[in-house]
């Protein structure tokens, strides 16, 4: 039996909606629908089960971050970045810190860079675990969502040990970290790196060559490389379409230049390719973390956790009470009396779902004059109607979860 193709140009004659079917259905998918994984509305025009047109409404959880940024000192903006892509909050935090450090000209010790890389790669793994297990969930396989999801919990336990929070981490400070990693944190990172590959192998054994899963995902929601570039795709979604663009390689930030890793690319940009690209990226991330741990072992210094920038890193509380200089710096930081150069910079990092950019215009005041956040999924989600057009309604659900659209980032 020939399966119906997802795209209208591949329809055979008997699959073209017949002349007799004149009645179109309008379906409100969202704003709060359990299958959309976030609050966004799609008003679909359906012919039977075939999607003819989509009208998107977004902005349901818009919180005006760009406006709030204009009233906050630089170090308080970190908490806003958590709430964008909350599946990989540390990447957002460090991205913001790196942007400010670029503006200020702060150079970080190598050890701190490696620590950041480790956390950023672990966050990428959590982001991809969430996305891939949800693809499985939406295509009818519940096991990964329950089993592999545990590893996201284990990574959150690392965050918890480092910064005390799990989801909205507010991890690190401008210039490094707020405290050194504890021995328990290192143990947890090492045990994750040791045990996760076997779990991913098992995950792959269950899904990746599974006939049902392949039939469901291959040729579902495809996009060509040209269209993906025109629509501003970045991250795993662009790589699944076959463009090997990764900010970590194209514009290396932090210590990524020193690591050896591959950029997996797909070919057809469908759900299956997005899934497999993410799957491989998790393995690459594990390899990067392993390399970073090796590099850290070679550094004899085990105590540095921030750059020497007393203007930006709060001194330890006991010193504030007993030491004049520490008290002055504490006061300066909290009251925002620190000098910031006039200038504008754009800094981008490879977030969980694409190029996450921070554009800062500074007029020398204690708050940025203007902050623009380049949120990857705000930019690529606009291609959604084009991708799902001519496909089935259930394919649209699967396509949306495979695009990894995070409502918090979409609406900022």
């Amino acid at each position: 039996m020939k399966e119906p193709a997802a795209r209208p140009d591949l329809w055979t004659e008997d699959q073209v909606p017949g002349e007799g079917l004149k009645e179109l259905t309008t379906l409100n998918l969202g704003p709060t629908h359990p299958a959309t994984h976030g609050i966004f509305q799609n008003v679909l025009t359906l012919d039977g089960e075939i999607i003819l047109d989509t009208e998107q409404t977004i902005g349901y959880i818009h919180r005006a971050f760009e406006k709030i940024c204009e009233r906050r000192p630089f170090y308080q903006i970190t908490t806003l970045t958590d709430r964008m892509n909350y599946c990989s909050a540390p990447i957002n935090n460090f991205g913001w810190h790196m942007a400010v450090e670029k503006l200020l000209g702060i150079d970080l010790p190598q050890r701190v860079e490696y620590m950041r890389v480790i956390i950023m790669e672990l966050s990428r793994i959590t982001d991809h675990i969430i996305c891939n297990t949800i693809i499985c969930q939406d295509s009818g396989a519940t096991t990964p969502f329950l089993y592999v999801y545990q590893w996201r919990e284990k990574i959150y336990e690392v965050y918890e040990e480092i910064c005390g929070a799990r989801l909205t981490t507010n991890m690190g400070r401008i210039g490094g970290f707020e405290r050194n990693f504890t021995e328990l944190a290192w143990q947890r990172i090492r045990s994750i790196i040791k045990e996760l590959p076997a779990v991913l192998d098992e995950f792959d054994k269950l899904m990746v060559r599974n006939r049902i899963f392949m039939d469901r995902c291959i040729n579902c929601g495809p996009i060509s490389a040209e269209r993906a570039l025109q629509w501003g795709f970045t991250g795993p979604n662009l790589r699944a379409a076959g463009v090997d663009y990764d900010v970590r390689v194209a514009d290396p930030y932090s210590a990524y230049k020193e690591f050896d890793f591959a950029i997996p690319v797909g070919r057809s940009g469908d759900v299956y390719d997005r899934y497999t690209v993410r799957q491989e990226e998790m393995r690459q991330s594990i390899s990067i973390v392993r390399q970073a741990l090796d590099k850290l072992d070679k550094i004899s210094d085990k105590t540095t956790y921030h750059a020497d920038v007393p203007d930006w890193v709060l001194p330890p509380k006991e010193e504030v009470y007993n030491d004049m200089e520490a008290l002055i710096y504490h006061f300066k930081i909290v009251m925002g009396e620190v000098e910031v150069p006039v200038g504008e910079i754009y800094h981008c990092v490879e977030g969980g779902n694409g190029e996450l950019g921070f554009y800062i215009v500074s007029d020398g005041g204690k708050n940025p004059f203007r902050v623009h956040l380049r949120r990857p999924c705000f930019i690529y989600y606009q291609a959604f109607p084009e991708i799902i057009k001519g496909g089935m309604l259930s394919d649209a659900i699967l396509t949306m979860s495979s695009l990894n659209v995070i409502a918090g980032e979409l609406d900022a």
Binding site: I58, G59, H62, A64, E66, K67, I68, E70, R71, M98, E101, K102, L103, G105, I106, D107, L108, L229, Q230, W231, G232, V243, Y245, A250, D251, G343, E344, I345, Y346, C348, E355, G357, Y359, V361, R370, H372, R374, F378, I379, Y380, Y381, Q382, A383, D411, A412
Partner: protein
Amino acid sequence: MPAFTIKADRDQLTIDKLSERFGPAGFTHERLYDTMCFTVPREQVHEVLAFLKAELDFNFLTSLCGMHFPGLELELGAVYFLHSMRNGHRIRVKTFTSLHEAKLPTVTDLWPTANWMERETWDFFGINFTGHPNMKRILNMEDFPAFPLRKDYPLEDPTRDDKDNTFFGR
């Protein structure tokens, strides 16, 4: 200084090509940290962007955002973040317009991805992009009475009367 690469040769090539096509008076440029920024008059912005895309391979529009500098003659601005992936080269193109003539040509014909970016800029700065297929608000509600990222819009809702300033130390 943190390590960032400056593509001086590509920057120079861009400047040369632009001055060849538009004349040295047709634009201004300055390097801000690692990126070359061009400022072009708004009548020419579409032409310049189309030229950059066609001649210098800026195939990717990374982002587009608005700006507001109250007090200047041309107080509203738009910044186009261009990226040539093949050459690994990024530039920014800025253009400014006055408040009572807040109109810019759309670039959705060059990069479809500008669609939502321009809607966002309209939503927050009130810059109307002429020729845009669907110029309406995107993140705020449709009957929102202001352009909130303009500097004269207060962060706190001025119409609220349920907050007593004496309780907030103001």
